[in-house]
């Protein structure tokens, strides 16, 4: 469904004219309903990959290769085509949910606009569906949340609202850019669980960007390890964990911060525990 072929991104410094390669010819593909985790340290190009797919690479940069989503070449798409793809096929869940909503409008407006303004669903229908969407992401007092301003809600709750907005358009591909990093630890698990559940329920594909290897392993079908703009290896969480192909992956696995004194950590949600 999503085919990324030899994706490169180069940024030119406007002062020195020097070109820096940010992505170095990465290729990967994603099937319908599949979840791919992009893991790696900060600056490895995880988020930049997402930005290229969304068409929001930094100004003055050059994107090469090809990104094909459901038969549309996103790199060659016109502004209007890109807008339609964003409205109907892509949904982004960003790091900080507070940035996603207009601070002076009610949450309800955010949900309605996503449906009405972007996808042309009649306003009345969008309004009627808003509460249902919130219930889907486990929010029970929908009336209060709909009438709230973003700053009145906690980050976790707001991220759920963003997820509700993301699934409202029934997209094909969810792009999650460290969706739990800005949340406190207790709500992280909750938000990830809801994200995972909704994704499976709606059969959506997902690219999950995270520097939390365990978290990515828990909810993704495959992991891609990135370093310095290149994908080092792609494999199932088990392959990455048990048979890492590169020293870097091995080092990354060893670098996970663990609170478990006996050096054991849960990796998969079904209770399997692994020796590190």
């Amino acid at each position: 469904m999503l085919n990324v072929e030899g994706l490169t991104l180069a940024v030119t410094d406007p002062d020195t004219g020097q070109e820096t390669e940010i992505l170095r010819g990465n290729s990967f593909s994603l099937g319908q309903g599949e979840a791919l985790g992009l893991v790696g340290e900060s600056g490895s190009g995880k988020s930049m990959t997402l930005k290229c797919i969304l068409g929001i690479e930094p100004p003055g940069s050059k994107v090469g290769g090809s990104i094909e989503l459901g038969g549309t070449d996103l790199l060659a798409a016109s502004g209007e085509q890109l807008r339609k793809v964003r409205a109907n096929e892509l949904a982004l869940i960003a790091q900080n949910p507070h940035g996603a909503l207009n601070p002076v409008l009610h949450v309800e407006r955010f949900l309605i606009e996503g449906m009405a303004d972007a996808r042309g669903i009649p306003k009345a229908e969008a309004k009627a569906r808003a509460a249902g969407l919130l219930r889907q992401v486990g929010i029970t007092d929908t009336e209060r949340v709909l009438r709230s301003y973003p700053h009145q809600l906690s980050g976790g709750l707001l991220q759920r609202v963003v997820i509700a907005g993301a699934i409202s358009g029934e997209p094909r591909l969810l792009l999650a850019d460290e969706p739990t990093t800005a949340l406190d630890v207790t709500t992280q698990a909750e938000v990830v669980a809801i994200l995972d559940e909704k994704r499976r329920e709606h059969g959506l594909s997902m690219i999950f960007v995270s520097h939390d290897l365990d978290l990515a392993a828990a909810i993704c079908d495959r992991l891609a390890v990135m370093k310095d703009g290149a994908i080092l290896e792609i494999g199932t969480p088990e392959e990455i964990r048990d048979r890492p192909k590169t020293d870097y992956t091995r080092a990354l696995m060893a670098a996970r911060p663990l609170l478990h004194p006996e050096g054991r950590a849960p990796v998969l949600p079904n209770g399997t525990e692994t020796d590190v």
């Binding site: 969304l54 929001i56 807008r83 339609k84 793809v85 964003r86 409205a87 109907n88 892509l90 949904a91 982004l92 960003a94 900080n96 940035g99 996603a100 909503l101 207009n102 601070p103 002076v104 409008l105 606009e113 996503g114 303004d117 972007a118 996808r119 301003y149 700053h151 907005g165 358009g169």
Partner: protein
């Protein structure tokens, strides 16, 4: 982008959204504040008096035929230059016309002109500024250059040029002035809109597939409305004075139509003979209206922009 440096007025870094969020918090603490109370709190006593003055002026324009004791055009040679008296409150002019009646009728032309100027200027400024902000880059630079060129012409010169080409009339003078006023408003609106455009939620809305036009209209425009309205009230005062000056020069409203600016001008000759009534009363009408409007605009816009509410 050298343009962004010197010419722009300082933008309040407290940020409008912060102010609005505070307003929301206050509203939650104190319960919904009615529009009237909020307005009263913002205006203060003097502001309310000014609003009253403006209300009187507006009512005067509407009910001129009912209020004016005499026909503003009818005069008799016998009644020339009468001093203020119970029959003629403000006296009579060089043609024996009742000055009070002429000021009441003159409110119409004196207000219509600035209204046209303000509306045309605001519409043009908003369109240019928001287009520049949304597209940025070359479009922004191009619109910026157009505004620079407009800046180069003094308003009055532009108006005189237009009148020279299209003939003297209130409409010509008003539209020419509006063009002259546009760059000032556009620049202020652009700077505020630019800040709003760079907030993360705008990018987020764009990624939801909402078109630039809708984002601009639904999100950016509401957030610059304070600046638009403040600019309009301030411009109204300037426009009134400029139009009065144009009428004074004989380039705007044409006699015998009653108009405040024109009356100041016509009274000039009588003034030298010791008949001060016409120029002084018409001038007072201009000063009072402009001052009231300026104060109200400052209270509504200035205070809000500064983040103070009490």
């Amino acid at each position: 982008m050298s343009r962004q440096t010197s010419m722009e007025p300082p933008v309040n870094t407290v940020g409008q959204d912060t102010v609005s969020v505070q307003a929301v918090r206050r509203q939650r603490l104190e319960g919904p504040v009615s529009g009237w109370n909020r307005m009263r709190r913002r205006l203060g006593t003097l502001g309310l008096v000014c609003v009253g003055v403006l209300a009187v002026v507006v009512l005067t324009t509407i009910f001129a035929p009912l209020i004016a004791p005499y026909d503003p055009y009818a005069g008799s040679v016998v009644d020339r230059h009468l001093p203020p008296s119970p029959e003629h409150w403000f006296g009579t002019d060089q043609s024996g016309r009742d000055i009070f009646s002429r000021i009441i009728w003159g409110a119409r032309t004196s207000l219509i002109g600035p209204t046209v100027v303000v509306l045309v200027a605001a519409a043009a400024a908003v369109t240019l500024a928001l287009t520049a902000v949304w597209f940025g880059g070359r479009v922004d630079a191009f619109i910026g250059r157009i505004l620079d060129i407009l800046f180069a012409f003094p308003n009055m010169l532009l108006a005189i040029l237009a009148v020279a080409i299209f003939g003297p009339s209130l409409l010509t003078a008003s539209i020419a002035l509006a063009i002259g006023f546009t760059p000032y408003s556009a620049r202020v609106i652009r700077s505020v809109a630019l800040r709003e455009r760079n907030l993360p939620y705008v990018a987020s809305a764009q990624l939801q597939g909402i078109s630039g036009f809708l984002i601009t209209v639904r999100h950016i425009l509401p957030n610059v409305r304070t600046q638009i309205f403040t600019g309009m009230t301030i411009n109204f005062g300037y426009a009134m004075i400029d139009l009065a000056a144009l009428s004074f020069l004989g380039l705007g409203v044409q006699p015998p139509t009653p108009d405040w600016g024109l009356m100041v001008s016509n009274g000039q000759a009588s003034l030298l003979q010791g008949y001060w009534e016409q120029s002084v009363f018409a001038g007072l009408a201009i000063v009072i209206t402009v001052a009231a409007l300026g104060y109200v605009g400052e209270q509504l816009g200035g205070r809000r922009a500064a983040g103070r509410t009490r």
